[in-house]
Symmetry: none
Subunit: 207 residues, 4 copies
DNA sequence: CATGAATGAGGGTTCATTCAT
DNA sequence: AATGAATGAACCCTCATTCAT
């Protein structure tokens, strides 16, 4: 007949959907949930307003979905970097590096998670605290391992992980506020790594 | 918030003004800038909506003003605590303690600064980065002094102060998320102090 | 001070509220629930759109309220006319007369009930069937009395009342479709009365 | 609805067209003109939305067309029943029976004409009053014949026919509101017939 | 013929802001 | 000073309609 929905049509639809989601991430990251209007998003994506509602049920659902997806991406990327090493110093170093890399190459990801979604919408609050929780746990795991192995002395790993999460966030945001973040990135990673290793009383050789 | 006085001839006037500002801090802290309506504020303050516009030019100006005032209060309180001591370990300990105290007894202050004003309104961005800058500098000063005195080894005090600021924020927010924050406060202050001192390679006796 | 809400202010507010409700009745009666926009209503009332939402929670609630209020008015007016007499022939005659009077002097009332609210909105359906039920019962009561008294033979008074309600509605609507309804009103009342009395096998003298 | 045929070469085409029209009648009857969306109709007919606009110029035109066709079906069916007899009592009885039959076996027809199309759309108003007019005339004809023949006394047959039309509508709608309309149908037809014959002062034997 | 992605006018509603009292 | 009724720009979203495939 005339339809071939599994072929090009489907691909094009997915492409447009993805394009709109990327545009939405940019707009949400830049303006935050409330200040970002659906009109802003469709203008950035160069489509009509009705197209938005063809692909997404509403602004809030899209935002929450984007937030979750972005959180997953960030967490998984850092987690993979951490898990790629077995030694705590290496793990922390790699984790920080991964985080800074994302901040520099995908600043919208960090903006969305740390800025765009703060105090946004009730249905997001749960997702937000889940994200913070997962982030803390992500840093806590290598610490617990190191404590078990005797690499570092016993300490409240949970609290330390919270401090790490907050410290890294702030440094990364400060980095992004710079005119040319990538220039300061290398030293930031180094310094943050040393900061962290000292903070957990790590005595071995830094990476 | 904080210090509010001037002469006494127009205390009646300031009564309403103050009531509205206090109500506004609570409402902004709880709901965030956008979700908080002017109507919410005047209802909480038990005045008419017209009264709001007699005392304040508009919602945005009030918010920015409140943000600044609250930031001043927080920074000065912590700063005083830090300056009340001369030894870096004591300074950090006292500073953290002051911060945690504020969080517990005036949670709205912390909520407003760390949550309610994130991604709120363009004209706030400058104030916000000024606040972050001052907060970083606040922590940086004792570090620089200690480095000068040889109490701690040389290090990028700016970066460390950023990490401190972020770390303290996160821990404080996690504290506030607890059902009874005050119970965990003491150990949090202790752990955070030790964390910080280790992180800057402080070798003396902790306070 | 400056407020005197029980005085003129309150009266003026009620006056405006009433004016808006009357405008709304006209618009709803003319266009029906869906085709009538809130903008239509506020234009007819010569107020801004925000004013609508100052007085009423939303379009649907207002419509349902208006429908109920109008139904009450119609039913009570007819019921009073019916109850003002004791003899069934008189009761029916007066009832019809009251109905026709309303149709002629307040055509919007009839339009709203018989036309504007048909198939309008789910939450109205209950109100609508309640109105039809009450209308049927209104006509049924004098019939039951007359049957009890032996004035008319036994018959399914419920069914007859339904037929009456429908018959009167149609005749009234046909009347309103005329260029000058009032000219035909008198004969319509007479003929409808005779029709009704014959239909229930009333043998006495018509009024 | 009703009779639909033409040649057979394009039965495939008519299959979709017919499916959509049948679906549309159901949807319009159930939800009313405004609440029924084109999407509802095409989903019920299991075709694409573009197909709708291949066969019909727009929603309004289809509705008006459907209304007319449905009105024709109803009027012709009743009219045939009436014309199948020569005696007024039989004519009325058969007419009522035909109406009630349609209501029970094709409730959507009645819903569409009496409910779905009330206050729907301006361009329908003419069709609607034409339908009411034809319905009144349908009942008026046997009355005029009976008056001519002296079977019933002289009376305003037009007005009586209006009353008949309204009475029958209401009773039929009340019937459809019952959980099992068919159980009450027989007695309803009987009672309505007797009601009508009495109303026109028919003295012969009821059918 | 048939499809369904794409469009955008227009509807209901919110809320910061004004101003007559 | 204080009030709160009134305003209207702007938001989110729906849905009839179009058109490239």
């Amino acid at each position: 007949m005339a339809y071939r929905s599994s072929d090009k049509t489907r691909q094009k639809k997915d492409a447009k959907r993805t394009a709109m989601m990327q545009a939405a991430v940019q707009v949400f990251a830049e303006k935050g949930y409330y200040a970002a209007t659906v009109r802003d998003i469709v203008q950035a994506a160069e489509v009509a307003i009705g197209t938005f509602y063809f692909y997404f049920p509403d602004k809030e659902t899209l935002f929450v979905h984007l937030y979750e997806e972005t959180a997953d991406f960030l967490l998984q990327t850092i987690d993979q970097a951490v898990r790629s090493r077995t030694e705590v110093a290496q793990q922390i170093s790699r984790g920080i590096q991964a985080y800074v890399n994302i901040a520099i190459y995908e600043p919208a990801v960090v903006q969305l998670l740390l800025v765009g979604g703060v105090g946004a919408v009730p249905s997001l609050e749960a997702k937000r605290s889940t994200f913070r929780e997962r982030l803390v746990r992500l840093w806590q795991r290598p610490l617990d391992q190191a404590i078990d192995q005797g690499t570092i002395p016993d300490q409240n790993s949970r609290r330390v992980a919270e401090a790490f999460a907050g410290a890294f966030d702030e440094v990364v945001l400060q980095l992004l506020a710079l005119p040319e973040p990538e220039q300061a990135a290398v030293s930031a990673v180094q310094e943050l790594t040393l900061f962290s290793l000292r903070a957990i009383a790590f005595r071995g050789n830094p990476p």
